[in-house]
């Protein structure tokens, strides 16, 4: 689980707008609302063909991920979480028309059938990465860093590496699965570009490539480099992001709030005129649908939820994931405990969670007189700050409440 130190939660210092008199609000129960979101590189400009009955886009579009709601399930590896939990995430993603992320644990063969709803990760340990894995997925994510433990690698204790996991990860049974802190082939933006294009080549340019980093001090500059290196999606993980296992000193003291990282990255990419070249996903401590709406107003395209999804499945946030003795059958490989999580029930709960959030998002959009999530993206005029210093307001690019 994530950082629980009393750092300020900036979402709670942001307030949303609503329509009154001059622009009518919309009732989402009576009028259509659009939450559909496409993730991926957008072309410089659109050439349209209006000769036929329907308007057609003439120039070829780079590969896109189509989401029915701008909420995705965060990277949680098979190993860190149980097979049943993975299956529930996969099923829920499919039902919801969104995506879940394998983390760096590889993909269990039984879950290949959910490939169209799967984002697969290529991380520093390269666990479970092979051609079929890449081909099955809808998108590939290169993991550079994780919000819960920026600067360090992953650690799956050998006790959790049971038969199925060893096969999926392609490592010997019972050995600790330690992924290195850096990607040993990436020491520069140019190196990152090589990996991005290697993956694009391997999948014949049919899938968007995402690059995930932890929110750190120079995120904006790094993000700019990532986009220029060819990333179609950049994922930023804030310091409240959860983890199955991380040294507490790192978890509690390294990284920056996602709100600031997002605002500065969106601002930087806009200033450089490359914002359209990549979509921005944010992760790390999203607690409710208002956080999602605020993030989108700050410039995000979509939001990864991890802890919230786990809580929907039954997690009680006891923060003992690393012991492998999760009582709820989520973060465990113990066969006795694992079966406590019924994937059918967990799927239903995940679907309920995201449906409920989506309804709430529609209500908030309607209140603002907006009928498509597209229209809110990066619209910082929809936000006002409260209890923030001038500097914080400046970084977030918003006005204080009352202005």
């Amino acid at each position: 689980m994530g950082n629980d130190r009393p750092y300020p939660v900036y979402w709670d210092h942001l307030l949303l707008n609503a329509s009154q008199v001059t622009n009518p609000s919309i009732d989402p129960l009576r009028e259509p609302m659009e939450l559909r979101t496409y993730l991926g590189r957008k072309p410089e400009k659109l050439e349209l063909d209006d000769s036929g009955e329907r308007l057609q886009i003439k120039n070829p579009l780079p590969p896109q991920l189509k989401l029915e709601t701008p909420i995705l399930f965060s990277a949680m590896s098979y190993g860190a979480i149980s097979y049943n939990a993975c299956e529930a995430l996969a099923k829920a993603a499919e039902k919801l028309g969104t995506y879940y992320n394998t983390g760096e644990g590889g993909l269990h063969p039984n879950l290949y059938k959910y490939g169209k709803s799967t984002i697969v990760q290529v991380a520093s340990g390269r666990f479970g990465v092979h051609k079929e894995y890449l081909d099955t997925a809808a998108a590939i994510e290169i993991k550079i860093g994780q919000g819960a433990k920026p600067g360090i690698g992953g650690h799956l204790p050998g006790e959790k590496v049971v038969e199925d996991i060893s096969k999926t990860r392609m490592i010997p049974r019972g050995t600790d699965a330690l992924s290195p802190a850096p990607q040993h082939d990436i020491y520069s933006i140019e190196d990152l570009r090589m990996l991005i294009y290697a993956l694009k080549e391997a999948t014949r340019y049919t899938k968007p490539i995402s690059v995930k980093i932890a929110a750190v001090h120079h995120s904006a500059a790094i993000a700019s480099g990532m986009v220029r290196a060819g990333a179609d999606i950049i994922a930023i993980d804030g310091f409240r992001g959860g983890t199955g296992a991380a040294p507490m000193i790192i978890r509690d003291h390294v990284g920056i709030p996602i709100e600031f990282a997002l605002a500065s990255i969106d601002q930087r990419l806009r200033e450089e005129g490359i914002r359209h070249q990549a979509s921005i996903l944010v992760a790390g401590g999203f607690r409710n649908s208002a956080d999602v709406v605020k993030a989108i107003a700050l410039g995000a395209d979509g939001v990864y939820i991890g802890t919230a999804a786990l809580i929907a499945m039954g997690c009680h946030v006891c923060q003992k994931c690393y012991t492998g003795k999760c009582n709820w059958g989520i973060a465990t490989q113990d066969p006795y405990l694992q079966k406590r999580l019924n994937p059918e029930m967990a799927t239903e709960r995940l679907v309920n969670l995201v449906h409920a959030w989506s309804h709430e998002i529609k209500e908030m959009l309607g209140g603002m007189g907006i009928n498509a999530i597209e229209s809110l993206r990066g619209n910082r005029l929809a936000l006002r700050g409260i209890g923030l210093t001038d500097t914080e307001l400046e970084i977030l690019g918003i006005l204080p409440a009352g202005r």
């Binding site: 049943n84 113990d334 066969p335 006795y336 079966k339 406590r340 999580l341 019924n342 994937p343 059918e344 029930m345």
Partner: protein
Amino acid sequence: MKRIFIKEEVCMGCRLCEIYCIVQHSRSKEILKAFKRETPRPLPRILIEEKGSISFALPCRHCEEPYCLEACMSGALYRDEQTGVILHHREQCVGCWMCVMVCPYGAISRDVREKKAASKCDLCGGKDPPVCVAKCPNEALVWVEIK
């Protein structure tokens, strides 16, 4: 027609089905009275098998062509014409254990306490769903429409 499906993958072996089966077939239908006051306590009509990390609860499958019905020589076992459920007349039963001998699921147990008589699942006499399904906290027993 609905029947019970068993999903061993998610059975935790908590035995709540067994407990509520006993309550349902007790005289008072109240958990404390059934366990503290009533003797003999009804036998559970659902059998729980457990070995290592695997467990599941096994009630009568209410077969389409049941062997128990063929073997029952007292006429105690019969099929309810409307529901197709295989039921048992305790009074008619003589405890010959022919049904125990032929049920391929081993889903019929012997009650030798007051009189010799078989004991089996009656799907709670039409309760929808039966208590074992209703009380299973992890949906390891599910109530599914067949045919």
